[in-house]
């Protein structure tokens, strides 16, 4: 990073984020937006190019978010649509191929993974099984993902050169999320009732492999943080009995491993996790971030976890799409006041949606000033 002004700016931004994670109060609340689709719409770039061409995606994402004012970081400056298939074990409808060129990609949730796969995972080992699954059922995905992955270091370097922290440019998740995507949610939930031991055996076979993969990514990209994602494993969807067996113990191990590698695990938890917030106190103090999407009660999260874990979020997608700048500004300032100012990072709830109004996203960014 030759530009010393940018270097200094980067250090300021990084310090703010690290202070927030450590539950300290930075000079101001850091703002770290997220979401790859809105930048394309904001800059008039075709969604098909954003989704599939790495040389388009990262300049677009970085360009759009840095145009808003002084942001501290971008959660993920790099994007390729194949990453969704890799993690959901599902086909994805891609703009320009399966959808009109300027539409948003959509996961095509079908039962691509079968009941027999649970036993196959245990017999073959998760790694070999996964390679076979991708090759047979999602052909071309690994190749596209691998090509894209080679460009991620450039994306991170570009971000840093502008003084912006690429906060969480990689995603890991627990076996539950992989299997739920591959089986489809309804079938997977039925599996948890009808063949719980088989599911657990496959999860136990998968977890060490996923953790090793995650360790490799953290080291390879020298990551400051990464997402440990949860979307279908939220308490909103699963009873405590199932959650305690199939969800939390796996997150705990993954979080511990990420911290051991020196990375900040950002629990990117979509949907409603309010019921289980207390359990998150079992994760290491002042080392993680809980990132919420507007569905979990973020004020309750502050009450329960405020002295234990940094909280990030959660300007709701609906507000960014349909609301006014005044509404966004008012809500963002309430977050800064009540969830912050210490131990808080302002962001959108999950992604800034594709159809968010520019002035609304700008109002969120400016709320920290």
């Amino acid at each position: 990073m030759p530009d010393t002004a940018a270097q200094k700016l980067f250090e300021v931004h990084e310090r703010r984020i690290r202070d927030a994670v450590a539950l300290k109060t930075p000079d101001r609340v850091p703002v770290v937006p997220n979401g790859p689709a809105w930048p394309a719409r904001a800059l008039g770039v075709k969604m098909s190019a954003l989704a599939t061409d790495p040389m388009v995606s990262y300049p677009t994402i970085i360009g759009a978010y840095t145009s808003l004012g002084e942001i501290d970081g971008i959660q993920s400056p790099a994007y390729h649509v194949s990453s969704l298939s890799m993690m959901w074990l599902s086909k994805v409808k891609v703009p320009g191929r399966d959808l009109p060129e300027d539409e948003l990609w959509q996961v095509d949730e079908t039962e691509l993974m079968t009941l027999a796969d649970y036993a196959a995972i245990v017999e073959e080992g998760f790694g070999p099984w996964l390679d076979r699954y991708y090759a047979e059922r999602l052909p071309g995905t690994v190749e596209a993902f691998t090509d894209w992955a080679k460009t991620v270091p450039d994306a991170l370097a570009t971000c840093r050169e502008k003084g912006i922290v690429p906060f969480t440019p990689a995603v890991a998740t627990i076996p539950y999320e992989y299997f739920c995507g591959g089986r489809s949610m309804k079938e997977f939930l039925l599996d948890l009732f009808r063949r719980p031991d088989k599911v657990q055996a496959a999860m136990d076979a998968a977890l060490p492999v996923l953790i090793e993969q995650m360790r490799g990514v953290i080291r390879g990209l020298d990551l400051m943080g990464l997402w440990i994602g949860g979307w279908r494993s939220a308490g909103e969807f699963v009873s405590p009995r199932l959650w305690n067996r199939f969800v939390f113990p796996y997150y705990k191990q993954m979080v511990d491993a990420a911290i051991e590698e020196g990375a900040i695990p950002v629990l990117h938890f979509d949907a409603n996790w309010t019921r289980d917030l207390e359990r998150l106190r079992e994760l290491p103090k002042a080392k993680c971030v809980l990132s919420l999407d507007g569905k979990t009660d973020i004020f309750k999260a502050k009450e329960i976890l405020g002295d234990h874990m940094c909280i990030m979020g959660d300007v709701p997608p609906r507000m960014l799409s349909l609301g006014t700048p005044e509404e966004v500004s008012e809500y963002s300032k309430r977050l800064i006041r009540e969830i912050g100012p210490g131990g808080f990072i302002l962001s959108s709830g999950c992604d800034v949606p594709i159809d968010a109004k520019y002035e609304n996203v700008k109002a969120m960014v400016e709320a920290v000033l």
Binding site: E109, L322, A356
Partner: protein, 210 residues
Amino acid sequence: MPSSPLAQALGDLDEATVVRLVEEKLVAGEMPLAILHELQAGMSIVGERFESDEYFLSELIYAADIFKNAGAPLQEGLRGQSQERLGTMVLGTVKNDIHDFGKDIVATVMSSNGIEIINLGVNVEHQAFVDAIKECRPELVGLSCLLTTAFEDMKETIRTIEAAGLRGQVKILVGGGPVDQATADYVGADVYCKTAQDGVTAGKKFLGVS
């Protein structure tokens, strides 16, 4: 009134007992419609437990699947009989959105609570809802989406129903990942349903059976 053993078994998610009791009752010559009513009473127990946070979506789905499987042998006997449906709902994921999980859960849970579902699928054209309302004369219409970009299609669907002069005949329920009360107000729906069980509760209320 205490629940029957069959209703209780379904309420307790005791799948083996539910299946066994239905078989025994059919062998004993009990009327399929009476057995169906017991199963529906079991789904009411499940709904109550969901509302009191004893059960979650996982249990709703499992219960509805037990209901479907246990009820399959009754279908032959129910053919031609009036099943005293509580009402009908035309349901679909609106145009420009292909996500079907939430919508299908609503279909499963509502149909196991006695509301007939006309499932139009995903990416449903605005006019297709109007055509279905004309053909099936439902009391309820359910619109689902997972994408904020589909809010406009939700709104447009309701506008199309209005333009066809059918808005007064149906109550419109909306739900899905990013949908909230403000979205329901924006698109002009009657009710925002946070969960599938909210749909059952609201549906029954509109049908005058709650």
